[in-house]
Protein backbone atom coordinates (compact mmCIF):
# COMPACT_ATOMS: atom_id res chain seq x y z
CA UNK A 1 0.00 0.00 0.00
CA UNK A 2 2.97 2.25 -0.16
CA UNK A 3 3.49 2.76 -3.84
CA UNK A 4 2.63 6.15 -5.24
CA UNK A 5 0.93 6.46 -8.58
CA UNK A 6 -0.21 9.41 -10.59
CA UNK A 7 -3.81 8.29 -10.32
CA UNK A 8 -3.72 8.68 -6.58
CA UNK A 9 -4.06 12.43 -7.09
CA UNK A 10 -7.27 12.09 -9.00
CA UNK A 11 -8.73 9.65 -6.50
CA UNK A 12 -10.82 11.24 -3.75
CA UNK A 13 -8.86 11.51 -0.54
CA UNK A 14 -10.65 9.46 2.08
CA UNK A 15 -11.77 11.02 5.29
CA UNK A 16 -9.69 10.08 8.28
CA UNK A 17 -10.76 6.56 9.07
CA UNK A 18 -12.06 6.26 12.56
CA UNK A 19 -11.20 9.84 13.20
CA UNK A 20 -13.37 12.90 13.43
CA UNK A 21 -12.88 14.23 9.95
CA UNK A 22 -15.22 17.19 9.87
CA UNK A 23 -16.41 19.37 12.67
CA UNK A 24 -20.02 18.32 12.18
CA UNK A 25 -19.12 14.64 12.54
CA UNK A 26 -17.23 14.92 15.80
CA UNK A 27 -19.84 13.19 18.01
CA UNK A 28 -20.19 10.26 15.60
CA UNK A 29 -16.42 9.80 15.33
CA UNK A 30 -16.02 10.06 19.08
CA UNK A 31 -18.80 7.51 19.63
CA UNK A 32 -17.17 5.15 17.16
CA UNK A 33 -13.80 5.63 18.83
CA UNK A 34 -15.30 4.77 22.21
CA UNK A 35 -16.92 1.64 20.78
CA UNK A 36 -13.59 0.47 19.35
CA UNK A 37 -11.84 1.19 22.65
CA UNK A 38 -14.56 -0.72 24.53
CA UNK A 39 -14.12 -3.68 22.17
CA UNK A 40 -10.38 -3.67 22.78
CA UNK A 41 -10.89 -3.43 26.54
CA UNK A 42 -13.41 -6.27 26.53
CA UNK A 43 -11.05 -8.41 24.45
CA UNK A 44 -8.19 -7.74 26.85
CA UNK A 45 -10.27 -8.60 29.90
CA UNK A 46 -11.71 -11.68 28.22
CA UNK A 47 -8.30 -13.00 27.19
CA UNK A 48 -6.93 -12.34 30.70
CA UNK A 49 -9.88 -14.26 32.18
CA UNK A 50 -9.38 -17.10 29.69
CA UNK A 51 -5.72 -17.37 30.67
CA UNK A 52 -6.57 -17.33 34.37
CA UNK A 53 -9.33 -19.93 34.04
CA UNK A 54 -7.36 -22.03 31.57
CA UNK A 55 -4.13 -22.18 33.51
CA UNK A 56 -5.25 -22.11 37.15
CA UNK A 57 -8.95 -22.83 37.61
CA UNK A 58 -10.04 -25.62 35.24
CA UNK A 59 -9.10 -29.20 36.10
CA UNK A 60 -6.69 -31.36 34.06
CA UNK A 61 -8.24 -33.71 31.53
CA UNK A 62 -8.54 -37.44 32.23
CA UNK A 63 -6.67 -38.36 29.04
CA UNK A 64 -4.65 -35.30 28.07
CA UNK A 65 -3.75 -34.10 31.55
CA UNK A 66 -2.57 -30.49 31.64
CA UNK A 67 -2.13 -30.39 27.87
CA UNK A 68 -5.86 -29.78 27.60
CA UNK A 69 -5.13 -26.22 28.71
CA UNK A 70 -3.75 -25.44 25.27
CA UNK A 71 -7.21 -26.18 23.86
CA UNK A 72 -8.59 -23.04 25.51
CA UNK A 73 -6.55 -20.92 23.11
CA UNK A 74 -5.72 -23.11 20.11
CA UNK A 75 -9.26 -23.70 18.73
CA UNK A 76 -10.33 -20.06 19.33
CA UNK A 77 -7.25 -18.84 17.46
CA UNK A 78 -7.98 -21.27 14.62
CA UNK A 79 -11.60 -20.07 14.53
CA UNK A 80 -10.42 -16.46 14.18
CA UNK A 81 -8.18 -17.58 11.32
CA UNK A 82 -11.23 -18.91 9.43
CA UNK A 83 -13.24 -15.84 10.34
CA UNK A 84 -10.54 -13.50 9.06
CA UNK A 85 -10.18 -15.25 5.73
CA UNK A 86 -13.97 -15.44 5.38
CA UNK A 87 -14.21 -11.69 5.93
CA UNK A 88 -11.39 -11.08 3.46
CA UNK A 89 -13.20 -13.19 0.87
CA UNK A 90 -16.57 -11.48 1.41
CA UNK A 91 -14.98 -8.02 1.26
CA UNK A 92 -13.18 -9.00 -1.92
CA UNK A 93 -16.45 -10.16 -3.45
CA UNK A 94 -17.92 -6.83 -2.36
CA UNK A 95 -15.18 -5.08 -4.28
CA UNK A 96 -15.49 -7.27 -7.37
CA UNK A 97 -19.28 -6.88 -7.53
CA UNK A 98 -19.81 -3.82 -9.77
CA UNK A 99 -22.71 -2.42 -7.71
CA UNK A 100 -20.76 -2.39 -4.47
CA UNK A 101 -17.29 -1.61 -5.84
CA UNK A 102 -15.54 0.57 -3.32
CA UNK A 103 -11.91 0.80 -2.21
CA UNK A 104 -13.11 0.51 1.38
CA UNK A 105 -13.89 -3.16 0.70
CA UNK A 106 -10.35 -3.59 -0.58
CA UNK A 107 -8.93 -2.03 2.59
CA UNK A 108 -11.15 -4.22 4.76
CA UNK A 109 -10.05 -7.34 2.87
CA UNK A 110 -6.39 -6.42 3.30
CA UNK A 111 -6.86 -5.71 7.01
CA UNK A 112 -8.71 -8.97 7.64
CA UNK A 113 -6.16 -11.01 5.68
CA UNK A 114 -3.21 -9.55 7.54
CA UNK A 115 -4.80 -10.27 10.91
CA UNK A 116 -5.71 -13.71 9.59
CA UNK A 117 -2.09 -14.43 8.71
CA UNK A 118 -1.03 -13.55 12.26
CA UNK A 119 -3.66 -15.92 13.66
CA UNK A 120 -2.68 -18.65 11.18
CA UNK A 121 0.91 -18.43 12.37
CA UNK A 122 -0.29 -18.70 15.95
CA UNK A 123 -2.53 -21.65 15.05
CA UNK A 124 0.47 -23.48 13.63
CA UNK A 125 2.73 -22.66 16.59
CA UNK A 126 0.23 -23.50 19.35
CA UNK A 127 -0.75 -26.66 17.46
CA UNK A 128 2.89 -27.72 17.18
CA UNK A 129 3.41 -27.13 20.90
CA UNK A 130 0.41 -29.35 21.58
CA UNK A 131 1.54 -31.96 19.05
CA UNK A 132 5.05 -32.45 20.43
CA UNK A 133 4.00 -34.08 23.74
CA UNK A 134 0.83 -35.64 22.27
CA UNK A 135 2.07 -37.08 18.98
CA UNK A 136 5.80 -37.02 19.71
CA UNK A 137 6.57 -34.51 16.96
CA UNK A 138 6.20 -30.80 16.33
CA UNK A 139 5.22 -31.36 12.73
CA UNK A 140 3.72 -34.06 10.62
CA UNK A 141 2.25 -33.96 7.14
CA UNK A 142 -1.24 -34.50 8.44
CA UNK A 143 -3.90 -33.16 6.01
CA UNK A 144 -5.13 -30.49 8.44
CA UNK A 145 -1.64 -29.29 9.29
CA UNK A 146 -0.60 -29.30 5.66
CA UNK A 147 -3.64 -27.37 4.44
CA UNK A 148 -3.21 -24.88 7.31
CA UNK A 149 0.42 -24.33 6.32
CA UNK A 150 -0.77 -23.89 2.75
CA UNK A 151 -3.27 -21.27 3.96
CA UNK A 152 -0.43 -19.42 5.65
CA UNK A 153 1.63 -19.39 2.47
CA UNK A 154 -1.34 -18.50 0.25
CA UNK A 155 -2.29 -15.46 2.32
CA UNK A 156 1.32 -14.36 2.66
CA UNK A 157 1.29 -14.39 -1.13
CA UNK A 158 -1.93 -12.40 -1.09
CA UNK A 159 -0.33 -9.76 1.16
CA UNK A 160 2.66 -9.64 -1.19
CA UNK A 161 0.29 -9.24 -4.13
CA UNK A 162 -1.28 -6.24 -2.44
CA UNK A 163 2.11 -4.54 -2.36
CA UNK A 164 2.77 -4.88 -6.08
CA UNK A 165 2.70 -1.33 -7.50
CA UNK A 166 -0.08 -0.23 -9.79
CA UNK A 167 -3.12 1.97 -10.05
CA UNK A 168 -5.29 1.68 -6.92
CA UNK A 169 -8.23 0.13 -8.81
CA UNK A 170 -6.05 -2.40 -10.64
CA UNK A 171 -4.26 -3.27 -7.42
CA UNK A 172 -7.55 -3.74 -5.59
CA UNK A 173 -9.01 -5.86 -8.37
CA UNK A 174 -6.12 -8.30 -8.59
CA UNK A 175 -5.92 -8.50 -4.79
CA UNK A 176 -9.65 -9.27 -4.64
CA UNK A 177 -9.28 -12.07 -7.16
CA UNK A 178 -6.30 -13.37 -5.18
CA UNK A 179 -8.34 -13.41 -1.96
CA UNK A 180 -11.19 -15.32 -3.57
CA UNK A 181 -8.79 -17.88 -5.05
CA UNK A 182 -6.89 -18.30 -1.77
CA UNK A 183 -10.16 -18.88 0.09
CA UNK A 184 -10.66 -22.16 -1.79
CA UNK A 185 -8.23 -23.73 0.70
CA UNK A 186 -10.32 -22.71 3.74
CA UNK A 187 -13.12 -25.32 3.43
CA UNK A 188 -10.55 -27.94 2.41
CA UNK A 189 -8.63 -27.12 5.57
CA UNK A 190 -11.71 -27.25 7.82
CA UNK A 191 -13.20 -30.45 6.40
CA UNK A 192 -9.87 -32.26 5.99
CA UNK A 193 -10.28 -33.90 9.42
CA UNK A 194 -13.57 -35.42 8.22
CA UNK A 195 -12.45 -36.30 4.70
CA UNK A 196 -9.11 -37.87 5.59
CA UNK A 197 -9.28 -39.32 9.10
CA UNK A 198 -5.68 -38.84 10.10
CA UNK A 199 -3.66 -37.87 13.15
CA UNK A 200 -5.44 -34.65 14.08
CA UNK A 201 -8.48 -35.09 16.27
CA UNK A 202 -11.98 -33.97 15.27
CA UNK A 203 -13.12 -30.54 16.48
CA UNK A 204 -13.89 -30.45 20.20
CA UNK A 205 -16.96 -28.30 19.60
CA UNK A 206 -19.19 -28.50 16.54
CA UNK A 207 -22.59 -27.02 15.73
CA UNK A 208 -24.57 -29.81 17.34
CA UNK A 209 -22.19 -31.48 19.73
CA UNK A 210 -19.57 -30.67 22.33
CA UNK A 211 -16.98 -33.08 23.70
CA UNK A 212 -16.12 -30.89 26.67
CA UNK A 213 -18.33 -29.86 29.56
CA UNK A 214 -18.55 -27.78 32.71
CA UNK A 215 -15.86 -25.21 33.51
CA UNK A 216 -13.76 -26.48 30.62
CA UNK A 217 -16.53 -25.74 28.13
CA UNK A 218 -17.17 -22.28 29.58
CA UNK A 219 -13.49 -21.42 29.48
CA UNK A 220 -13.26 -22.45 25.85
CA UNK A 221 -16.40 -20.45 25.03
CA UNK A 222 -14.88 -17.42 26.74
CA UNK A 223 -11.76 -17.96 24.64
CA UNK A 224 -13.83 -17.97 21.45
CA UNK A 225 -15.61 -14.73 22.40
CA UNK A 226 -12.44 -12.97 23.60
CA UNK A 227 -10.32 -13.81 20.59
CA UNK A 228 -13.19 -12.81 18.29
CA UNK A 229 -13.36 -9.42 20.02
CA UNK A 230 -9.59 -9.10 19.68
CA UNK A 231 -9.96 -9.88 15.99
CA UNK A 232 -12.58 -7.13 15.56
CA UNK A 233 -10.36 -4.61 17.33
CA UNK A 234 -7.28 -5.55 15.32
CA UNK A 235 -9.14 -5.40 12.00
CA UNK A 236 -10.56 -1.97 12.81
CA UNK A 237 -7.12 -0.64 13.73
CA UNK A 238 -5.54 -2.16 10.62
CA UNK A 239 -8.35 -0.80 8.45
CA UNK A 240 -7.79 2.69 9.85
CA UNK A 241 -4.08 2.39 9.20
CA UNK A 242 -4.73 1.41 5.60
CA UNK A 243 -6.96 4.46 5.17
CA UNK A 244 -4.27 6.71 6.60
CA UNK A 245 -1.67 5.19 4.27
CA UNK A 246 -3.95 5.89 1.33
CA UNK A 247 -4.48 9.48 2.48
CA UNK A 248 -0.75 9.82 2.97
CA UNK A 249 -0.06 8.67 -0.59
CA UNK A 250 -2.53 11.18 -1.99
CA UNK A 251 -1.34 13.97 0.30
CA UNK A 252 2.34 13.35 -0.43
CA UNK A 253 1.77 13.40 -4.15
CA UNK A 254 -0.43 16.51 -4.02
CA UNK A 255 2.19 18.27 -1.92
CA UNK A 256 4.98 17.29 -4.31
CA UNK A 257 2.98 18.51 -7.30
CA UNK A 258 2.22 21.82 -5.59
CA UNK A 259 5.92 22.29 -4.85
CA UNK A 260 6.94 21.47 -8.41
CA UNK A 261 4.32 23.90 -9.70
CA UNK A 262 5.57 26.65 -7.38
CA UNK A 263 9.16 26.00 -8.47
CA UNK A 264 8.12 26.07 -12.09
CA UNK A 265 6.43 29.42 -11.62
CA UNK A 266 9.47 30.81 -9.80
CA UNK A 267 11.80 29.54 -12.51
CA UNK A 268 9.64 30.96 -15.26
CA UNK A 269 10.37 34.45 -13.91
CA UNK A 270 14.17 34.18 -13.83
CA UNK A 271 15.03 31.47 -16.37
CA UNK A 272 15.01 31.11 -20.13
CA UNK A 273 12.17 28.92 -21.47
CA UNK A 274 12.71 25.16 -21.17
CA UNK A 275 11.90 22.26 -18.90
CA UNK A 276 12.45 22.99 -15.24
CA UNK A 277 14.86 20.60 -13.50
CA UNK A 278 13.55 18.42 -10.69
CA UNK A 279 14.85 19.61 -7.36
CA UNK A 280 15.85 16.89 -4.94
CA UNK A 281 13.78 17.59 -1.89
CA UNK A 282 13.00 13.96 -1.24
CA UNK A 283 9.46 14.95 -0.29
CA UNK A 284 7.26 13.83 -3.09
CA UNK A 285 9.39 11.57 -5.24
CA UNK A 286 8.87 8.49 -3.19
Amino acid sequence: MSSTTANAVAAPVPAAPGGAGRAGHQPRGAWRGRLVAATGGAALLGIAATVWLGLWVTPPDVYMGNLVRLLYIHPPIAWVMYLAFGLAMLSSLGYLWPRTRDLRFDRLAGAAAEVGVVFTGLTLVTGSLWGRPTWGTYWTWDPLLTTTALLFVLYLGYLALRRVPGEPEARARRAAIGAVVAFVDVPICYFSVYWWRSLHQLPSVTAGKSYIHGSMAWTMLLGFVSFTLAFVWLVVRRYRLAGLAQAEEADGLALALAERRAEGEADAVGRPPGPAPLVEHGVGLR
Binding site: A20, G29, A230, R237, L244, A258
Partner: protein, 60 residues
Amino acid sequence: MTYVDAGYVVALVALAVYALSLVGRERAARRRLGGQAAHRPGGPAARPGRPGGRLGGGSR
Protein backbone atom coordinates in the same frame (compact mmCIF):
# COMPACT_ATOMS: atom_id res chain seq x y z
CA MET B 1 8.60 -23.97 31.08
CA THR B 2 6.08 -26.54 29.87
CA TYR B 3 4.62 -26.81 26.38
CA VAL B 4 1.40 -25.32 27.73
CA ASP B 5 3.18 -22.28 29.19
CA ALA B 6 5.14 -21.83 25.96
CA GLY B 7 1.93 -21.89 23.91
CA TYR B 8 0.30 -19.21 26.05
CA VAL B 9 3.42 -17.03 26.08
CA VAL B 10 3.91 -17.23 22.31
CA ALA B 11 0.25 -16.46 21.56
CA LEU B 12 -0.11 -13.58 24.00
CA VAL B 13 3.25 -11.95 23.27
CA ALA B 14 2.73 -12.16 19.50
CA LEU B 15 -0.74 -10.63 19.71
CA ALA B 16 0.46 -7.88 22.06
CA VAL B 17 3.40 -7.01 19.79
CA TYR B 18 1.15 -6.93 16.72
CA ALA B 19 -1.49 -4.80 18.45
CA LEU B 20 1.10 -2.32 19.73
CA SER B 21 2.73 -2.12 16.32
CA LEU B 22 -0.64 -1.22 14.77
CA VAL B 23 -1.23 1.52 17.35
CA GLY B 24 2.28 2.89 16.87
CA ARG B 25 2.06 2.87 13.08
CA GLU B 26 -1.32 4.61 13.19
CA ARG B 27 0.02 7.36 15.44
CA ALA B 28 3.08 7.83 13.25
CA ALA B 29 0.89 8.03 10.13
CA ARG B 30 -1.34 10.65 11.77
CA ARG B 31 1.71 12.67 12.76
CA ARG B 32 3.11 12.51 9.23
CA LEU B 33 -0.23 13.49 7.73
CA GLY B 34 -0.51 16.40 10.14
CA GLY B 35 2.96 17.52 9.05
CA GLN B 36 2.11 17.25 5.37
CA ALA B 37 -1.11 19.21 5.86
CA ALA B 38 0.80 21.91 7.70
CA HIS B 39 3.29 22.23 4.81
CA ARG B 40 0.65 22.36 2.10
CA PRO B 41 0.39 25.92 0.70
CA GLY B 42 -2.87 27.34 2.05
CA GLY B 43 -3.66 24.01 3.68
CA PRO B 44 -6.26 23.79 6.36
CA ALA B 45 -3.68 23.21 9.05
CA ALA B 46 -2.41 26.72 8.41
CA ARG B 47 -5.58 27.94 10.07
CA PRO B 48 -5.41 28.21 13.85
CA GLY B 49 -7.26 25.69 15.97
CA ARG B 50 -6.91 22.77 13.54
CA PRO B 51 -3.62 21.10 14.35
CA GLY B 52 -4.27 18.01 12.30
CA GLY B 53 -5.57 19.86 9.29
CA ARG B 54 -8.16 17.88 7.34
CA LEU B 55 -7.71 15.02 9.74
CA GLY B 56 -8.60 17.03 12.78
CA GLY B 57 -7.15 15.89 16.02
CA GLY B 58 -9.45 12.91 15.79
CA SER B 59 -9.77 9.83 17.89
CA ARG B 60 -6.64 7.73 17.96
